[in-house]
């Protein structure tokens, strides 16, 4: 319980810092962003009354001193009032972001789980058979890890849709279909997700594999493993139940760093595939200098990553009882 509260406190502080950084950042924008946004919106259609206040509050550039501005900003945030998007005028920002979230969540979530499972399994085997031909393949994964996600995406796209023509060129689904739980739509969505998911898995699996392999090698030298071998336990039991079980802990603890990498990589990767998720939306916002949308996307991604890390911390507390006892 103590562990849980401490973690919860930490993530509350992290979330607060992200929100505060987001409050101060718009001050870097040269000129008057509020005026600029309003002028741009006015070009696309009539601007409702109250938009100026909403925009100013959200960008932390309203009236009054810094504290009042901060208060207004927090209030706007609590009501999820991000104003209207310039890019997709006159849709509210929340609606634009809401449409994008499920795509990224499903794609990145599923691909990450697959990559973790695959990487940990392969790493366990490589560490168990240290020095075998399989183990000597491990260093080659460093090449995969050093590839920019978006370039691998370009390469896969070129090969599979330009040269061989087996998979669609981009997008999240066949746009002639309606979004819904129909078989045709799901098949189309799955077909469009193959390459993006393959990009994430290929780029990130090496890191999990290498980390797991090195921890396996260290763990296999521990006395309890030697003792298990001396007892004559079957090798499988030793590998999974004794060595891998302990070797996996640093990988779980290091999840935060890896997740940051994966999320960052997939944002740019989505742009290559024109995948209708958060990365693509962020690019639209950047290209159209759509500050409200940019802020919303940044906050949603940050909160998503914080939530995922919190979940992993809970899992870690469960799999490693020592963390629950410590302090």
């Amino acid at each position: 319980m103590r562990y849980l509260l401490r973690k919860l406190g930490f993530y509350a502080v992290a979330a607060w810092m992200a929100v505060t950084v987001n409050f101060f950042l718009p001050r870097l924008i040269p000129g008057d962003p509020v005026e600029m946004m309003l002028a741009r919106q006015a070009q696309s259609g009539p601007v409702e009354a109250g938009q100026e206040e909403a925009l100013a509050a959200m960008l932390g550039l309203g009236h009054g001193n810094l504290l009042v501005q901060y208060g207004d900003y927090l209030r706007a945030l609590a009501h999820l009032d991000f104003g209207l998007s310039v890019t997709y005028f006159p849709s509210p920002v929340t609606e634009v972001v809401g449409d994008a979230v499920p795509w990224t969540l499903v794609l990145v979530g599923a691909a990450t789980l697959l990559s973790v499972a695959l990487g940990l399994t392969l790493g366990t085997l490589a560490g168990w058979r240290r020095g075998s031909w399989f183990d000597s393949l491990v260093p080659s994964t460093t090449f995969l890890a050093a590839i920019p996600y978006f370039w691998l995406a370009l390469l896969l796209l070129y090969l599979f849709s330009q040269v061989w023509g087996v998979l669609p060129l981009g997008g999240g689904y066949d746009e002639t279909l309606d979004i819904g739980l129909s078989g045709a739509f799901l098949t189309s969505a799955a077909e469009h997700a193959v390459l993006p998911a393959a990009t994430i898995v290929l780029s990130s699996v090496g890191g999990w594999m290498l980390g797991m392999r090195n921890m396996m090698v260290s763990t296999l030298a521990e006395d309890y493993v030697v003792a298990a071998e001396a007892k004559g336990l079957p090798p499988r039991t030793i590998m999974v139940g004794y060595a891998a079980r302990n070797a996996v802990l640093p990988s779980v603890a290091g999840f935060a760093i890896s997740l940051g990498f994966i999320v960052s990589g997939s944002l740019v990767m989505e742009i290559v595939f024109s995948y209708p998720g958060m990365g693509f939306t962020l690019l639209q916002a950047v290209q159209n200098t759509d500050y409200p949308l940019m802020q919303a996307v940044f906050l949603v991604i940050t909160f998503g990553v914080l939530a995922a890390n919190f979940l992993v911390d809970l899992v870690y507390g469960f799999v490693d009882p020592r963390t629950r006892q410590a302090r």
Partner: protein, 301 residues
């Protein structure tokens, strides 16, 4: 009882000498390290001599969108620029941004990590809280948003933004190491002698963490190059500053992919990946030298 089948490697001194030739010779014997170093040397030489090796990368020729040939080793872009010349000249920009961001990030992480770990108390609590927060907040979205706000800041703003978001992980590693070092006997002895605090940090602690700092620096370079490539690809870096990332940006904008101009977008990415691999190989080579348990040797489990 029979001898254990897994050979227990005798624990070698865990604090290797950070200076001198002591570690370089066994390191060179590691094939990974030697291969990485050779590959890196090629890139560094290219970066240093680039402008003399290749023609003007921005010169337009009459050969538009040509496939690789004797005249243009890697073909030409849609506007007739030589891809090979661009690739060679971009090496300098890419390496400079990578090295500069990594250097700043490493300095920050050394100050925060070792400073916090050594001082302890409230300062440590505050610094490690900040590092942990920076660690869990995803870097790239922040970098993208900041770059979009300060549009057109040039190479330096890119360097600073990348450095700002990449120091946290190594600060945490260095803090942990400092916590373990500062209770060692020789540090306690130095305290008893009445050594000044800054002297203990610089003379007793820092040299013993040099190996970790170097390895963190190497990974910071890789991270910076990847991040810069991503930013440039999104059009958020100064496009007049040629890097492999900006090459990819131009290739993407000219729809090199759909027009089948593979010679335009494949080489820059391959260079980034090769450079990253070279740096990781060097780092793993160093790890093997410093941690003998990781060395690959034939053992039957």
């Amino acid at each position: 009882m029979t001898a254990p089948t897994v050979p227990t490697v005798p624990t070698l001194p865990t604090t290797p000498r950070a200076t001198g030739r002591g570690w370089l010779r066994p390191a060179l014997r590691s094939r990974r390290f030697a291969a990485g170093l050779a590959l890196l040397a090629v890139f560094v030489l290219t970066a240093a001599l680039g402008p003399w090796l290749a023609d003007d990368p921005n010169a337009f020729t009459a050969d538009l969108g040509q496939a690789p040939s004797g005249a243009h080793w890697l073909g030409t872009t849609q506007t007739g620029q030589d891809v090979f010349a661009q690739l060679v000249v971009s090496a300098r920009g890419t390496l400079l941004i990578g090295a500069a961001s990594a250097l700043i990030a490493t300095v920050v992480s050394v100050v925060v990590g070792i400073g916090g770990g050594f001082l302890g108390g409230l300062a440590d609590e505050a610094l490690s809280l900040i590092s942990n927060v920076f660690l869990v907040i995803p870097g790239l979205p922040l970098v993208i948003v900041v770059s979009a706000y300060v549009k057109g800041g040039g190479a330096w703003s890119t360097i600073l933004v990348i450095a700002l978001t990449s120091w946290a992980a190594s600060a945490r590693v260095l803090r942990a190491q400092t916590l373990s070092l500062r209770t060692r006997d020789y540090v306690l002895a130095a305290r008893v002698y009445g050594e000044k605090r800054w002297r203990i940090v610089l003379v007793e602690i820092l040299p013993n963490e040099l190996a970790i700092i170097v390895s963190q620096f190497i990974f910071a370079v890789i991270f910076a190059i990847l991040t810069q490539a991503g930013l440039a690809f999104l059009g958020l870096a100064d496009p007049s500053h040629l890097t492999w990332g900006t090459m990819l940006y131009f290739a993407q904008n000219a729809e090199a992919l759909t027009s089948g101009a593979w010679w335009w977008f494949i080489p820059p990415g391959l260079c980034i990946a090769a450079l990253g691999t070279a740096l990781s190989l060097i780092s793993f080579g160093l790890d093997e030298v410093l941690d003998p348990r990781l060395r690959v040797r034939k053992v039957s489990p």
